[in-house]
């Protein structure tokens, strides 16, 4: 059933349990400012709403139902205690502008999280304010800009970004008023250091780097790269979306980065919620501390306080009305405390073990790896170029057919560098049995793509809908329901 909620609506139906009793006058408000017609929200009973959204939910693949090896997204288990605790009345009921004295409980958790993130990242200070990775990036690059400006180093108008970078990196640089220069990648997955050398200069504000990169390999020349950029007077930004690969093993601060963001909804297992919310804390080296966004959480003689613009005059400012995605930060903190000191490294260990196992097995099964000679990090790239040439079956077809077999598809067609690619990230929380099942499904699909090409090309066959027409979606834009519009 995919009837829309609006199609189940009946004019005049009221869900009384949610309907405050009493009549409340708004006669004192000017008629001209009042709404004349009721908004076309659904008029359904509580049962209809619950039934509809329960049934809708069942149409989703999710970590709680399926293996979900979406590369770069780190779809790991979301412990249920995190959700429970973040919803405790004392946490969920607190108004953001209440005096800090009424929030020592939540602030103590957040402060502890800051300290934990400092420890694992090797940075001097951390701000929890950014609400997702992309906002973390914005924050970081804005701080780099503020740093250069504070030193009146105004010629630096360029941000360097490897061509393999996530789309948010160049988009962020532009939002901060920079131009973007792409640095090519070598065949072995490392940055082309000669090209980099040629590109850096007095115009360089900084370099954004993901390490391990989005190619699923560790950038081995990171120390040289850092030196190059620093020598040119630029700063280094670390996109920490792949931190899961090196958690507890390598500290970005020690690789030479000046500013980093972490995706807590990835590495720290907060729920992805069908597209968020996330949390993208930033960590900075000493010289960038003054520029951190406000509010900042600080401790002063055993009390937790919020620092504002008056306390931090050089701050880049606020990123949101309040202080970020607190409830998500709480979930991440709980997860971090449950991992504990000894558990951090294990995350990287087993995420890497799972990825390398899959890489080797799939290779043995005849699939081509984009970076054959390299170790996988927590993820790796498989290219289906050969399969496409031989049978016409694309990475997209493979992806859709995987859905039929009960596996969410890996990330497809990203990074753009690699043709017909699958970016596969199993995460540490999946069992050997699940990995073997996925590998077997991949091999099966390859057989099918030879013997039953059409079956694969027309997949999926067992989902609520068959393959959807994306082109039509963009051409005949229908983003708001009106009766009989399809």
């Amino acid at each position: 059933m995919t009837e829309l909620i609006f199609e189940q609506s009946t004019a005049g139906r009221i869900n009384n349990a949610q309907y405050q009793s009493g009549t409340f006058s708004i006669d004192d408000l000017p008629q001209a400012l009042l709404r004349k017609t009721s908004p076309a929200l659904p008029e359904v009973s509580e049962m209809q709403a619950v039934r509809h959204y329960t049934r809708l939910s069942q149409l989703n693949f999710a970590i709680d139902t399926h293996f979900y090896p979406l590369g770069s997204c780190t779809m790991k288990h979301n412990p249920r205690i995190c959700n429970e605790a973040a919803m405790y009345d004392g946490f969920s009921g607190r108004h953001p502008l209440s005096p800090a004295s009424t929030g020592q409980g939540v602030l103590s958790c957040l402060y502890d999280l800051q300290e934990i993130l400092k420890d694992i990242s090797g940075m001097s200070e951390v701000s929890l304010a950014p609400m997702a990775g992309a906002q973390g990036e914005f924050t970081g690059i804005a701080m780099i800009r503020a740093y250069h400006e504070a030193r009146a180093d105004d010629a630096r108008q360029e941000i360097l970004v490897p061509d393999a970078a996530h789309g948010t990196n160049p988009a962020t640089a532009v939002m901060c008023g920079y131009t973007v220069k792409e640095i090519p990648t070598l065949d072995n997955g490392d940055v082309d250091i000669d090209a980099l050398r040629a590109a850096v200069g007095p115009q360089t504000a900084g370099l954004m780097l993901t390490n391990p990169s989005t190619l699923g390999v560790f950038e081995r020349q990171i120390t040289e790269i850092a030196a190059l950029v620093h020598e040119a007077g630029g700063l280094l930004y670390y996109d920490g979306a792949n931190m899961n690969a090196i958690l507890g093993k390598v500290k970005p601060g020690e690789m030479g980065f000046d500013v980093i963001h972490l995706n807590l909804h990835k590495t720290f297992s907060t729920p992805h919620g069908g597209g968020g919310p996330g949390a993208g804390p930033v960590g900075v080296s000493k010289r960038l501390v003054p520029f951190l966004p406000v509010p900042r959480i600080a401790e002063s003689s055993g009390e937790y306080v919020l620092l504002d613009k008056n306390d931090c005059p050089q701050s880049i400012g606020r990123l949101s009305c309040f202080m970020g995605n607190t409830g998500i930060l709480l979930r991440a903190w709980i997860y971090a405390r449950m991992l504990g000191r000894e558990g951090m490294k294990r995350v990287a260990d087993y995420a890497t073990l799972n990825a390398n196992y899959m890489k080797v097995k799939l290779e043995q099964g005849g699939f081509d790896m984009a970076y054959k000679s390299r170790r996988a990090t927590h993820e790796f790239i498989l290219t289906l170029k050969k399969e496409k040439t031989e049978t016409g079956v694309t990475a997209m077809d493979f992806a859709k057919r995987l859905l039929d077999k009960g596996y969410h598809a890996p990330t497809t067609y990203f990074p753009l560098l690699v043709p017909e690619c699958f970016l596969i990230e199993p995460t540490e929380s999946e069992s050997l049995e699940e990995l073997d099942g996925f590998i077997a499904a991949m091999e099966e699909i390859r057989r099918e793509s030879v013997e039953q090409t059409e079956l694969v090309k027309s997949a999926p066959h067992s989902l609520p809908v068959r393959r959807l027409d994306d082109v039509r979606a963009a051409r005949k834009l229908d983003v708001v329901w009106q009766e009989d519009a399809v």
Binding site: A49, V50, H52, D119, A134, M175, I222, C321, G324
Partner: protein, 452 residues
């Protein structure tokens, strides 16, 4: 190992398959001098029973307060079904619906959400969310500049939530955009139309109109919109979505309505949670949809002609357009939107109107009770929705502290943000406040003011 299923035997088997002798070998491409497994701060692992105890204690210590504070986040009733359904694993633990066929649940829900928001604001299009209200305003400003080309000035009234102005400045300042302040009238607490008129120079891309404004007061939105449009300027409305159950929708302001509508989604079923996660919403006209930031869900057909839903107009987004994208936003606030969609479905138009009306009535009652106290008076003579500025003849910092000790959050002191409003408090009483609670607030206020 917490959350890692591997037994030793399995690990062994996997290492053998890979052909290495231990896990550390898998990290052999990392320069050895970078490996540092020493953690100085992180405490030892806690089991679930332990962390639950710790969290309960922390949450308990934050206690329970009666909120008469709003200022951008509001304590409304949230139906129990909202979060019980929203946290179902299939919603909670899925990601952005990149594989549409395997994500029809989330996609249809988001399409329904877009429809609800479009209807609530009377706009043609809604996106699938931004981070929260203030940054949504920043995105709207950027969007208006893209849509207007070569116009880089934004008129921003003083009656906007000051944190929205600050956030917008942080986000847009590096793109050569100027934000000009518009004064408010000391009588009405709304935009000073006279001063505004002088500001319409050629380079103005958009006028921002908050409704209700930060003081809770209602702006003359029809006049403002028409004025701006006459000057070739776009209108960005910043609204409280719950208020739209009773207030005129931005799409119907003036002759042609607002062009972009943004706001904080929190009043739609999201708990206060010390400030987040909430969600920002954004609606606009069809004309400028290609300038919109964020995800957009479209209805389409599948290979058999059956209706289905998918991400659309992705060419605006960073993962396709990279440095030319409309925004860098990627992860948005999906789960919050799920809850808001449930909220709107469970409340319906009548339930939301009732909540809005009750909040209005409660705030009026509160204001009546508080201004009955000698030394407490209303500052602006405008109609208000569910917030109101009171001038109080007593040192505000001490007053707030004393009332907090009674378990009451008195309201938002305005002195830090507004010159001339040092002795003013912004108060709010949503539909959840009882008369008993108001009387208790009045009692303590009177006690403090009278002794002052």
């Amino acid at each position: 190992m917490p959350f890692i299923p591997h037994t030793e035997e399995e690990t062994r088997k996997m290492l053998d398959a890979i052909g290495v002798s231990n896990i550390d070998e898998l990290f052999d491409e990392i320069p050895a001098d970078l490996i540092n497994e020493k953690l100085d701060y992180v405490p030892p692992a806690m089991d679930e029973a332990g962390i639950r105890r710790l969290c309960k204690n922390s949450a308990q210590s934050d206690g329970h307060y009666v909120n008469f504070i709003g200022a951008g986040a509001y304590e409304h009733h949230i139906p129990a079904a909202v979060w019980q359904v929203a946290t179902r694993g299939e919603f909670y633990s899925a990601y952005t619906p990149y594989q549409a066929e395997a994500s029809q649940g989330t996609l249809q829900l988001l399409y329904e959400y877009q429809t609800m928001m479009a209807s609530l604001t009377a706009m043609e299009v809604s996106n699938a969310s931004l981070y929260e209200g203030a940054s949504a305003l920043a995105e709207a400003v950027l969007m208006s500049v893209r849509a207007q080309r070569k116009k880089y000035r934004i008129l921003m009234p003083e009656t906007i939530n000051p944190a929205y102005r600050e956030t917008t400045e942080t986000i847009v300042k590096n793109q050569g955009i100027t934000i000009s302040n518009i004064d408010y009238s000391g009588d009405t607490g709304t935009i000073d139309l006279g001063q505004l008129n002088d500001q319409f120079t050629d380079d103005v891309a958009a006028l921002v109109i908050p409704q209700p404004n930060y003081f809770g007061a209602l702006e003359q939105v029809d006049e403002l919109v028409d004025l701006a449009h006459k000057q070739g300027c776009l209108v960005i409305a910043v609204v409280n979505p719950l208020s739209l159950a009773i207030l005129k929708a931005p799409g119907e302001w003036g002759e042609n309505g607002a062009d972009i509508v943004v706001g904080e989604g929190q009043p739609l079923g999201i708990p206060l949670s010390s400030g987040g996660p909430y969600f920002g919403f954004m609606c606009c006209t069809q004309k400028i949809v290609r300038q919109m930031p964020g995800r957009l869900i479209g209805r389409t057909l599948d290979a058999e002609g059956k209706q289905g839903f998918t991400l659309t107009l992705q060419a605006r987004e960073q993962h396709i357009r990279r440095s030319k994208a409309t925004s860098n936003i990627c992860t948005n606030q999906g789960l919050m939107v799920t809850a808001a969609t449930l909220y709107m479905s469970l409340m319906g138009p009548a339930g939301m109107a009732q909540a809005a009306k009750a909040s209005h009535a409660n705030t009026r009652l509160l204001v009546e009770k508080l201004t009955a106290i000698d030394g407490v008076e209303v500052v602006f003579n405008s109609p208000f929705f569910h917030e109101c500025v009171l001038r109080i003849d007593s040192p505000l910092d001490d007053l707030v502290r004393e009332i907090t000790a009674e378990g009451i959050i008195a309201g938002m002191p305005l002195g830090a943000d507004f010159e001339g409003l040092q002795d003013c408090l912004l108060v709010c009483a949503t539909e959840l406040r009882t008369e008993e609670e108001m009387d208790n607030f009045a009692l303590h206020l009177e006690r403090i003011v009278s002794k002052g």
